[in-house]
């Protein structure tokens, strides 16, 4: 059922990093796969089993990180996020059939997460309260024993990899017309050990078809300038300047 992925050629080879021991995603290997566009951000191009990845806040980036493993057959648990956008997640690649949602884990959330790790290979968690060191260590021990991956939103001092979205800009909305189409985001990754070097990448998160793709630097709208200046077809401001300030055609005005 697991599609064989030619992972060794697709992994971004960073000089000095060790080669992948086995095909990602196959049980027994040390990692869970991620979407191709995100591989550049993670050490070894995948999520290492037994590790904690922290994302600054809950959003499409978290769901995108989980989507690769889910599409490959892993079960995902989402704990502590009643507002998870499942439809957007499905567009990114997360399989709703293999998702468990626990919107309110309550005060016993470490036990809940430990139980979820029994069944799910990847757990996305927004802790209701910041965890003391002892709780974190116990969860990390469970994580290593179960060889799962924990994606935490917010601060987690022991996280191996930390990701956050620095800038984002949506295309498609104008001054009273259009609709949201795609978002271009700059994602920064750093962490400890292998991930210590800071990396940033521009991604379409999501692209117009709902998936995640690497953004070509030419298409990137100027960071910090909101979408008011971006036309519905995603052309960047440099192109636009040449044609003067023409609003996009009425074809963009159709809102579902």
């Amino acid at each position: 059922m697991l599609a064989w992925q030619p992972a060794l050629s697709a992994v971004a080879w960073e000089p000095g990093s060790e080669p992948e021991p086995a095909v990602p995603g196959v049980p027994g290997s040390g990692t869970l796969p991620v979407l191709p566009a995100l591989r550049d951000l993670l050490p070894r191009g995948a999520l290492a089993r037994g590790s904690v990845v922290s994302v600054a806040e809950f959003g499409l980036l978290c769901l995108a990180l989980a989507a690769g493993a889910s599409a490959d057959g892993a079960w995902c648990g989402i704990a502590g996020v009643p507002e998870a956008g499942v439809l957007a997640a499905a567009g990114l690649g997360l399989d709703g059939e293999r998702t468990l949602l626990v919107p309110d884990p309550g005060s016993a959330w470490p036990q809940v997460v430990a139980s979820l790790l029994d069944g799910c290979e990847l757990v996305l968690l927004r802790p209701p309260a910041s965890a003391p060191a002892q709780v974190r260590q116990r969860l990390e021990a469970t994580l290593r024993r179960r060889r799962g991956v924990l994606l935490v939103t917010g601060d987690w001092p022991g996280a191996q990899v930390r990701l956050r979205v620095i800038t984002q800009g949506w295309t498609g909305l104008g001054d009273g017309h259009g609709r949201l189409r795609a978002c271009c985001a700059e994602v920064l990754a750093d962490g400890r050990g292998e991930a210590a070097m800071t990396r940033t990448r521009w991604l379409w998160l999501p692209a117009e078809d709902g998936t995640v793709a690497a953004a070509d630097p030419v298409d990137v709208p100027i960071a910090g300038i909101p979408a008011r200046g971006v036309w519905g077809d995603g052309r960047s401001l440099q192109d636009r300047g040449a044609q003067g300030g023409r609003p996009p055609g009425l074809a963009a005005v159709s809102a579902g």
Partner: protein, 454 residues
């Protein structure tokens, strides 16, 4: 097998009929515990098992008639493959009408169409020249369904000898639950869990001996101080005795945590009872259909463990649903429940917002204020005219954000025919200076943020 007491059918005094019929049912239940009452004066049950026991269908029928004669009632018996054919056989010329297995279509073919319960359809069929059930059964099913609709489908199925509804079992009089007493009361959970395994095996054997399986198991544990813990566990046939023992352990663990209200039950456990709930005929375990994700035991255990801690509704699985609003497009079903959408997911649903799906969908809208350059709230008229362009967005106590792009209003008027649930809203997509986008909805002058795109 259908047992019909013509004296009771159509008796003027309904209560006397009901009382007599109750005695009839009791008498029939002695021969077959799974008797179903069809209507006053008529009861039915699956005869294969009892017939083998009593030495043949004719012998069984004879004994039943004799038993009912003892109550002073005349009865007639019909035996056939399906309920409909058996009822007609009971009305036949002989007191015991036996239709051989597979002979129902031939037997039914001779009958006129007005034996069908649906008299309107029967009249129509007669006028169209289809006089007997055999004529109806000879037509292609698709054509009958297309011309006559659901009523025609049902009639065609009956006429061909297939039953219309499966026989529902009457719950047997005896209690199928199994219990175990602990004397002296057991303070530790382990011996109770150990006993639960043996108990579960006994319960399964008891159910299987009656050809039954249960959909839910209720575990009841009573403590010496009088407290009782009851919890229903879903039982799909996947649960072995060991799995039931696991659930007992989780239930006992779940009852003891400090987070629960009050102190845990003191004094030890005195009784453990397993009660099968929602008993149905065992038809064999249905495997997951192609395309459905198979829930492995490991995942089911983990999910049920969390359900033991937090409650059945705490672990959910998403199901794609139909609907116009972003919060309607996904339904959350508790783990173990049937994953059916509330609305039609595949249909167009005009009024839906096309384009990117929001990464954050708030279950309850967040209060917000959308103001124009001058600080006045932006309002939308009934004709979707805006009072002014939105310039600032304040969400729920967060700092003010500048609106840098917007689109809307996209009006939606739902359930206009019902004054209680009717609502008219206008939706906007707002882009703010920090690069985030918001789905803002205005209804009755109030702004709410329903979803966020980031």
């Amino acid at each position: 097998m259908v047992v019909c007491c013509p004296q009771l059918c159509g008796l003027a005094d309904a209560r006397a009929a009901a009382r007599l019929f109750d005695r009839v049912l009791a008498a029939v239940t002695r021969f077959c515990p799974k008797a179903e009452a069809v209507e006053p004066g008529v009861c039915a049950f699956a005869a294969r098992g009892p017939a083998r026991y009593y030495g043949g269908e004719a012998a069984l029928a004879g004994q039943i008639i004799a038993a009912l004669a003892g109550l002073g009632l005349e009865s007639r018996v019909g035996v056939a493959d399906g309920l409909f054919a058996a009822r007609l056989a009971a009305r036949g010329p002989r007191q015991v009408g036996l239709i051989p297995p597979g002979g129902s279509p031939e037997f039914l073919a001779r009958h006129p169409v007005d034996v069908l319960a649906d008299q309107d359809l029967a009249g129509l069929l007669t006028r169209l020249g289809l006089g007997t059930l055999g004529d109806l059964a000879a037509l292609p099913f698709g054509d009958v369904a297309g011309r006559f609709g659901a009523a025609g489908e049902a009639a065609h199925r009956l006429a061909s000898g297939h039953g219309s509804l499966p026989l529902a079992v009457r719950p047997p009089a005896e209690d199928l639950s199994v219990a175990c007493e602990f004397d002296p009361p057991e303070a530790l959970a382990e011996p109770v869990v150990f006993a639960a395994k043996a108990l579960a095996e006994r319960m399964h054997d008891g159910l299987a001996a009656r050809g039954l399986t249960c959909v839910r198991v209720q575990v009841r544990a009573a403590w010496a101080d009088g407290r009782e813990s009851r919890r229903r566990w879903r039982h799909d046939g996947l649960l072995s005795a060991a799995a039931v023992a696991d659930r007992v352990r989780w239930q006992l663990d779940g009852w003891h945590p400090a987070a629960q209200d009050g102190e845990p039950g003191t004094g030890g456990i005195t009784t453990l009872r397993l009660v099968p709930d929602q008993v149905v005929r065992a038809t064999g375990h249905q495997l997951a259909l192609w395309g459905e994700a198979v829930v492995t035991d490991r995942v089911a255990r983990a999910a049920m463990r969390v359900q033991a801690m937090l409650g059945h509704e705490a672990v959910l699985r998403p199901v794609h649903d139909g609907g116009r609003n972003v919060d309607e497009q996904v339904t959350h079903v508790p783990f173990g429940g049937k994953r059916t959408p509330r609305r039609e997911p595949g249909q167009p649903w005009p009024g839906r917002i096309a384009g990117a799906a929001p990464g954050v969908v708030y279950p309850f809208g967040r209060e917000a204020e959308v103001t124009d350059e001058a600080g006045r709230a932006v309002a939308v008229t009934g004709r979707c005219g805006l009072s002014a362009e939105p310039a600032c967005l304040t969400v729920d106590g967060e700092p003010v954000r500048r609106v840098t792009g917007w689109a809307g209003p996209w009006p939606l008027s739902e359930r206009w025919w019902d004054p209680v649930t009717a609502r008219r809203r206008a939706r906007f997509q707002l882009l703010t200076g920090d690069g985030r986008a918001w789905l803002a909805v205005v209804q009755d002058g109030r702004w709410l943020i329903e979803a966020g795109y980031w």
